[in-house]
């Protein structure tokens, strides 16, 4: 008990001492001005980029808290890549397209609050692709941490070339935004099961895309990893036209064979075979991908190897390769789309089909709207 008393006494003394010292040391301290200069984010009306900067604020920063970075900052990129800044005029073009084919679409389909809640906070433009000198691959878009999207190859943008716009930018926008979304809400478990064991992160670029369609991937890149598969499925569903999907489903429904080494990712695959000189037998078997489809007198579909003829002058007949890999590519692709559809509806209350419908509709006459928005920027005061 005595010990406790003594201990309390010393502890009280100790606390008094500390208090005294603390009071003394604080007494002389005066807080000066902040060491950080005030950040003046007022736009300079004399700046050559004033109109565009002002439009970006009104269009992206004020409503969505999105910083649209078209001026290159290498600290905002992976320094392992050699990159160049985006061209100013093409940055303006892409900003307009982002508004019309991305932000306005989600606003209409998912409501005004959706992008405010889930949209990226930074959109960074880079002029060149991020090239991997060893693999020869190019990165055309990046999504990081659920908040930042980087779009590359801006300097190749041509507003009049819808095909390249679709491939390089529109698809990339929705692809990267799909990443942003699944970085917020995880990818459905079932989606991860459909192509388990068929992903190849290092050789995807070498593999025949049509063979990959038949394995249930919408693109070669989709076969690189589950998350890319998910983003590719959503992005292509939204932006690609019906003809594109018809082709993918056709390729997905076929059987494929190679006369090379199936273990070699570069091996060429074919969906038809024929016999040289129409002489049956494995020793005469050849593969081909392009054939002529005709209907005979009995109404049967017959395939020919172009105008190639045998020694008797008869056309060489081709036969479809049997789909014997046990993978129903069409069904898998449909399952993936359905998973993405359900996931968007459940997690975000977004209708994937309406997104597609809206984007497809806007792509039909995007140039007219593009010019209107472009004029808005030019007329900013």
């Amino acid at each position: 008990m005595l010990i406790m008393k003594a201990l309390k006494k010393y502890i009280v003394i100790l606390l008094l001492a500390i208090t005294a010292v603390t009071v003394c040391s604080c007494g002389e301290e005066k807080l000066g001005p902040s060491i950080f200069p005030d950040v003046d984010d007022t736009l300079d009306p004399t700046s050559s980029t004033y109109k565009f900067d002002k439009w970006l604020r009104q269009t992206f920063r004020d409503p969505y808290n999105l910083d649209f970075l078209y001026r290159m900052e290498d600290v905002g990129t992976n320094m392992n890549y050699n990159l160049v800044p985006a061209n100013y005029e093409q940055s303006v073009d892409l900003a307009v397209l982002c508004k019309y084919l991305w932000f306005d679409v989600y606003n209409k389909v998912a409501g005004e609050e959706f992008l405010k809640q889930y949209g990226p906070r930074i959109l960074h433009l880079v002029g060149s692709p991020a090239m991997n000198a060893l693999s020869g691959t190019e990165i055309v878009g990046l999504a990081e941490g659920g908040v930042k999207v980087t779009l590359f190859k801006v300097n190749e943008l041509d507003v009049n070339d819808i095909a390249s716009l679709n491939e390089l930018y529109f698809k990339t926008m929705h692809h990267e935004f799909a990443h942003i979304l699944h970085q917020t809400k995880t990818i459905p478990v079932t989606f991860r099961t459909y192509s388990a064991g068929y992903y190849d992160g290092s050789n995807w670029q070498s593999r025949d895309s049509r063979l990959l369609n038949s394995q249930g991937f919408v693109t070669s890149y989709a076969s690189s990893a589950v998350r890319e598969d998910f983003a590719e499925t959503i992005a292509n569903y939204i932006v690609q036209p019906d003809e594109w999907w018809d082709y993918i489903y056709t390729m997905a429904s076929r059987g494929w064979a190679t006369d090379g080494d199936p273990q070699n990712p570069d091996a060429a695959y074919y969906c038809y075979y024929y016999y040289e000189n129409n002489e049956a037998g494995d020793e005469h078997l050849k593969y081909v991908s392009n054939v002529v489809e005709e209907t005979d007198e009995d109404g049967n579909v017959v395939y020919y190897v172009g105008n190639l003829t045998d020694s008797d002058g008869n056309r060489i007949i081709a036969y479809p390769v049997q789909d014997e890999d046990g993978i129903d590519g069409v069904t898998i692709i449909n399952q993936k789309i359905e998973d993405a559809r359900q996931w968007l509806r459940t997690e975000f209350n977004v209708d994937l089909d309406k997104l597609r419908e809206e984007v497809q509709s806007r792509q039909l006459n995007y140039l007219q709207h593009f010019n209107v928005i472009r004029a808005e920027i030019d007329n900013m005061q």
Binding site: I11, I13, S48, E73, N82, P85, Y88, M131
Partner: protein, 443 residues
């Protein structure tokens, strides 16, 4: 218990003493302003500096070490625009490329000048599409602003680290005139035919240089090993000469390093003087090497003959015409692979009259004696018979000639002056580089 009390008391005392001590000694600030304020000031100062006085600057830009440097003219505007011009076309003096983009001075570890929207003149050096794909020329477009002195800003590439200087040029500088001047200097670093040059070092060694015209050179000691002792370096042409991106430590024949060179100033005789030591000099190849090179054909300049040579040339021409209706088209000195020797070839009409030259006998590298072999072809024998004056030409050649050239850097025009009579001289000029060593007879 005693120990415990003592421990607590000691602890309290140390705390008190330490705390009071820390309050009583204030450390003076090294700088009056905080780091952030100083950065802000530096950004403002450099921004103003760049746009002052018209904002016109010349940047001596380097990318990677295997690419030549280029001079850019930059016009910084206060509205954030910059127009960058350069002449990448080494064939046209009047041509240059210009593009306008944006610039800023931003804060990083220090003030950084960044060209942050694409400019086709500058950013091609950073474009990964150029070979090797993915790397390109590895040039920078963000530069640490290291120092300002005498209207010169010293920059350092932020990513790849190249040191670059940028100096102010007058506001009224005409871009076309500037690049035309630069082009003239560029042309003075190229040679018409002979691609090799010599660097005569202040250490007494002689080095062979190739590639000066491209500003990416290979240098090796003349008495050393071309394979193992070659040093490669890149350089940039400026208005008064050229300089290597980094000092070049040359390898001596014995493997040592006794000479380092970087800056070269063009001299009136065409040579380039190393301003680092004031002695080393880059000149053209020596006459003996050039004359002995079987790939080159020389032609007598009939308008640059002196004394008896000046009289004989038209006289032979006239006599040949009167005798055979064949004009003397030209006189060449070239290697003939058919006869495996150099010839003096008098071309009369369609006839090649080849006079075999047994040997060149050199005294040092400025004197030569032509030793005729006497092995002439049939046409030459006929010419000697039909135009006896031709023999006098060769009699005059039986002499020692002093060789000289107006250009120390590109001596492809050589004057041969008789050592017996300085009135007598003739001039040979390289007119052709053959794919193979010499050709056969043309009759």
């Amino acid at each position: 218990m005693k120990n415990f009390r003592f421990f607590i008391a000691a602890l309290a005392s140390i705390f008190v003493v330490t705390s009071f001590t820390s309050c009583t000694h204030e450390v003076d600030d090294v700088f009056e302003k905080s780091a952030a304020e100083r950065m802000s000031d530096a950004i403002s100062n450099y921004t103003k500096l760049l746009t002052d006085n018209g904002g016109t600057w010349a940047m001596e830009y380097f990318s990677n070490s295997s690419t030549p440097g280029f001079v850019f003219l930059l016009k910084f505007s206060k509205n954030g625009d910059v127009t960058i011009s350069a002449n990448y076309n080494a064939e046209q003096a009047s041509e240059y490329d210009s593009d306008t983009s944006e610039w800023r001075v931003i804060g990083d570890n220090g003030p950084v000048l960044t060209f942050d929207t694409y400019n086709e003149v500058l950013h091609l050096f950073s474009d990964p599409a150029y070979s090797p794909r993915g790397r390109g020329f590895e040039g920078d477009y963000e530069f640490n602003l290291m120092k300002y002195q005498n209207d010169t800003i010293f920059l350092n590439g932020k990513k790849n680290g190249a040191d670059i200087v940028m100096y102010r040029v007058p506001e009224n500088t005409n871009v076309a005139d500037y690049f035309a001047e630069l082009f003239k200097m560029q042309m003075s670093t190229t040679t018409v035919y002979f691609p090799l040059h010599r660097l005569v070092g202040s250490n007494g060694q002689e080095y062979m240089i190739s590639g000066i015209g491209d500003m990416v050179v290979s240098i090796y000691p003349r008495l050393g090993d071309e394979i193992s002792q070659t040093v490669d370096a890149n350089a940039i042409v400026t208005l008064d000469g050229f300089y290597f991106q980094n000092p070049v430590d040359l390898i001596d024949p014995d493997g040592g390093h006794t000479l380092s060179v970087q800056h070269f100033l063009r001299q009136e005789d065409g040579s380039f003087l190393c301003t680092d030591d004031g002695v080393s000099r880059i000149i053209g190849m020596d006459f003996p090497t050039m004359l002995n090179d079987k790939l080159y054909s020389w032609r007598i300049d009939k308008d640059a003959l002196g004394g008896r040579f000046a009289e004989l040339y038209p006289a032979i021409d006239d006599a040949s015409y009167k005798k055979n209706r064949r004009r003397l088209s030209y006189v060449d000195l070239a290697y003939n692979s058919s006869t495996n020797m150099f010839n003096f070839q008098f071309q009369t009409g369609s006839r090649a009259c080849n006079f075999g030259l047994g040997n060149f006998v050199f005294e040092g590298d400025k004197k030569v004696k032509f030793v005729l072999s006497g092995e002439n072809n049939t046409n030459a024998t006929s010419l000697l018979r039909d135009v006896p004056l031709t023999q006098e030409w060769f009699d005059l050649l039986d002499d020692t000639f002093i060789m000289s050239s107006e250009s120390a850097f590109d001596p492809y025009i050589v004057k041969f002056t008789s050592s017996k009579n300085s009135e007598n001289f003739f001039t040979l000029k390289i007119y052709q580089r053959n794919e193979e060593e010499g050709g056969g007879d043309v009759n």
